[in-house]
């Protein structure tokens, strides 16, 4: 039976080849292979016979990318076939290439080596591109065997997690990763998400503008590091659950029989890995976004390190990162310490271990930090330190070097993509003379590129006010 089927298919292909050969390189051929041959044989052929209005979009594609584009085109335009041209295309399809200039719009990447570049301003092109990078586009490519059906990734708890692709319904119970999923442009896959820093007026107003489904998909009450409402999770039918590796509910969630992907990103390297893993989970477009973020992060860190090389170690600024109360400080294991060190400072409390540590003022006096930072959450305030009589004995307080780390949505001191702005801000505070990065420029670029959000001047003023 099968043999007969194959021979029929073969026959159809051969006959279509013959037909195309006879029509002398008709560009509307349904078979991509023939186009390649024609293109190779006669590079100028399309100028001899311009195509007419039957074609919706004229596409110029690299030979390898013709098949996937055809798959996408057929899926989007209900089985219609694309028209490939060499000159004046509406849409150019080519490998995304190296990310060189970050301050440029990123292309729409639908395969690891295929990206779309619109050549005309046209709604239909835009819609097609949107489709190509969407979950349905990913599905079409998977159906055609051009993208894998599943992926095995090692999460940050060391487990190998097998994930069926595409991931359509993701449940994030960990705020920093929720921010990462926004950064890799996969937020439309959320069925519910726990947010970080979206409770205060600034955070919630921005989130409402960034995502029309916010706050409906906010699941902070049901899903967090300590809580996991398993019945509600079952109702949401997720096909992937995301959590922190140190969550308290890891045993119970096994009952759902849904893959669980765990994160533990308390270092600079782990944060980069976390963003890259997040990209891989959601497909080529997200992978490219993740790469772009890592590239941006590394370029920022690199430029700061370059400047820091000129500053001798003994002139480095010593920084104390306090918590929601002045006498609670970040340990050396925490991301806050990495931010300080990456920004060229020395973390005063790096000898401490674990999570936030309660300490007494004598210990602060022994450390004698040059700068004190308070976090942008939990009622922490600069005034709690500067207006306290007891703290006046510290030079940092006398010199007025107590600053509050800013935030837009996710606090900049957490292992979220926004942490890159935390590093820039910190470096600017510690070495205003040496660092030539500008918080407002970078914040504008960052939220535009990774959150697709045009930050307002008012918000810029709030987060980048010079202390």
């Amino acid at each position: 039976m099968k043999k007969i089927k194959y021979s029929i298919i073969l026959l159809v292909i051969i006959s279509s080849l013959v037909i195309t050969a006879c029509t002398n390189g008709d560009l509307e051929t349904p078979n991509p292979e023939s186009t390649i041959t024609d293109a190779e044989v006669d590079p100028d052929f399309e100028s001899t016979e311009p195509i007419e209005e039957q074609a919706r979009l004229l596409i110029k594609a690299e030979p390898d990318l013709i098949e996937p584009v055809t798959v996408l085109y057929k899926a989007f335009f209900n089985g219609e076939s694309p028209s490939f041209v060499q000159n004046d295309p509406d849409l150019l399809v080519a490998p995304p290439g190296e990310i060189v200039d970050l301050h440029h719009e990123l292309p729409a990447v639908f395969l690891n080596d295929g990206a779309m570049y619109p050549q005309n301003d046209n709604e239909e092109i835009e819609a097609f591109i949107q489709f190509a990078v969407s979950v349905d586009g990913q599905q079409a490519l998977i159906n055609a065997g051009l993208l894998p059906e599943s992926i095995d990734l090692t999460d940050q708890a060391g487990n190998i997690v097998s994930i069926n692709l595409p991931v359509r319904r993701v449940l994030s119970a960990y705020g920093p990763v929720t921010a990462m999923i926004y950064s890799v442009d996969a937020e439309n896959r959320f069925v519910s998400a726990s947010y970080l820093g979206a409770r205060d007026p600034l955070g919630s107003s921005v989130m409402e503008k960034v995502d029309s489904r916010f706050p409906d998909i906010q699941g902070n009450e049901s899903f967090s590091q300590s809580e996991f409402n398993i019945e509600e999770a079952a109702m949401l039918e997720p096909d992937l659950i995301i959590g922190n590796a140190r969550s308290g509910w890891l045993e119970t969630v096994a009952a759902l029989d849904v893959p669980v992907f765990l994160y533990d990103a308390e270092t600079s390297e782990a944060l980069k890995e976390a963003v890259l893993l997040t990209g891989q989970i959601f497909g080529p477009h997200s992978t490219y976004q993740a790469d772009a973020w890592v590239r941006y992060y590394e370029s920022i860190v690199g430029s700061i390190e370059e400047k820091m090389a000129e500053i001798p170690v003994e002139d480095r600024v010593e920084v104390l990162f306090t918590g929601t109360e002045p006498l609670r400080v970040a340990s050396g294991d925490m991301f806050q310490s990495y931010i300080i060190e990456t920004a060229g400072g020395i973390s005063a409390s790096s000898e401490l271990e674990g999570y936030w540590n309660n300490i007494n003022l004598e210990q602060v006096v022994i450390w004698d930090p040059d700068v004190i930072i308070v976090p942008p959450y939990g009622g922490a305030s600069v005034e709690a330190i500067t207006e306290s009589d007891e703290w006046q004995i510290l030079d940092a307080v006398k010199d007025g070097k107590v600053y509050r780390m800013p935030k837009l949505v996710a606090p900049w001191d957490t292992p979220a993509p926004d942490a890159v702005l935390g590093i820039i801000w910190m470096a600017q505070q510690l070495y205003p003379e040496q660092i030539d990065l500008d918080c407002s420029t970078e914040a504008e670029f960052f939220y535009n590129t990774f959150f697709d959000y045009e930050i307002t001047d008012e918000e810029i003023a709030k987060i980048c006010s010079i202390n």
């Binding site: 006498l327 006096v365 959450y377 009622g379 922490a380």
Partner: protein, 350 residues
């Protein structure tokens, strides 16, 4: 076992004979520890320098040459904190003794009417919604008093056997506020307010400043004087209401006064330090082992031992590690074995 009992009895005898040295010890022990504590801390300051700094208000020239930061640390950080440990320890020792007398029960302390649970809820509420140190203290104080008020007037709803009903109401109100606190902890953000609430509930003298020490000093000294004056009547109350009435004491009014003052003292202590368990329970027992159950002597001993115990505990809490150890952890770890030991040793004379 017999030998142990004998030795306990002989110690008792010895001290009752040599009364004067005992009182010297009772005053000397907290005072000595107070001075010693001032020299202890993460920041190294020599004992001589500490003494000079302490004397500097009288002889201003004496502290010359000592770094300003050391002076500031002693006067602004160590002094209020150690004073707080002394006062709170004394307060728990005294109120524990008084409550054990009026409830005729060696297993109660001033928390039996729910003051700590109420204060804990008040503090958690303020930590969750405001996070301001001063508001936390006020809220803890108010809710501590509210809890005792509820226990006291709740027990009036029921006519007979008031003491038992009062104990029961105290336990009920205590667990009610305990549940409310758990509710707040459940609602609290695990990244910020939850650790603050947990740490508060374990007790710490870390945040003590002169400003929040003031109400503690006033109420504790007032309360201690009140209990001191009435200390012989505690003997009568511990006999029972009928006996007390027969001896010309109005037991109800008396108890009301003692409960009121003890509650004020406990509420102000809890609001300043968070929940520090076991001191009020263990210290009176230790006192009984030394001077016997007679309240005229037991109360001063409990005050002295309570102050000394909490100063030692706090010294450990602030010096052992770079991080602070919660007081509730240390009092439990050290207080419970002591209590068990005492209960084994001394079988008579509560």
């Amino acid at each position: 076992m017999k030998r142990l009992q004998k030795s306990a009895a002989s110690i008792k005898e010895e001290y009752s004979i040599r009364k004067v040295p005992l009182y010297l010890i009772l005053i000397g022990l907290p005072l000595g520890l107070f001075v010693l504590s001032l020299t202890l801390g993460r920041y190294q300051i020599g004992p001589i320098d500490v003494l000079k700094v302490m004397l500097s208000p009288i002889f201003p020239s004496i502290a010359e040459g000592i770094p300003d930061i050391a002076i500031q640390l002693i006067l602004r950080v160590r002094l209020p904190r150690i004073l707080a440990a002394l006062l709170i320890g004394a307060s728990y020792g005294a109120t524990g003794t008084a409550f054990q007398a009026i409830f005729k029960n060696p297993l109660v302390d001033s928390n039996i009417l729910g003051v700590t649970s109420g204060a804990g809820f008040g503090a958690a509420l303020a930590l969750l919604f405001f996070g301001d140190q001063w508001l936390v203290q006020v809220s803890a104080f108010v809710f501590g008093l509210l809890a005792v008020f509820l226990s006291f007037f709740g027990s009036r709803l029921y006519r007979s056997s008031p003491l038992l009903i009062l104990t029961l109401m105290g336990i009920l109100v205590g667990s009610f506020f305990g549940s409310l606190t758990s509710l707040l902890k459940y609602a609290a953000d695990p990244l910020d307010s939850l650790p603050a609430i947990t740490f508060w509930l374990l007790g710490s003298l870390n945040g003590i400043t002169w400003q929040n020490l003031l109400p503690l000093i006033i109420l504790t000294i007032l309360g201690l004087i009140y209990l001191w004056v009435l200390r012989w009547r505690l003997n009568i109350l511990s006999l029972g209401d009928a006996e007390a009435s027969a001896l010309g004491v109005d037991p109800t009014r008396m108890k009301l006064g003692i409960i009121l003052f003890s509650t004020l003292m406990t509420a102000v202590a809890v609001s300043a330090s968070g929940v520090i368990g076991w001191v009020g329970l263990v210290i009176p027992h230790a006192g009984r082992l030394i001077v016997g159950p007679e309240h005229k002597r037991l109360l001063p001993v409990s005050i002295s031992l309570g102050a000394a115990f909490l100063m030692i505990i706090d010294d450990l809490a602030r010096t052992l590690l770079p991080g602070e150890i919660p007081l509730g952890v240390l009092t439990g770890l050290i207080g419970v074995p002591i209590l068990v030991l005492l209960m084994r040793r001394s079988r008579t004379g509560w």
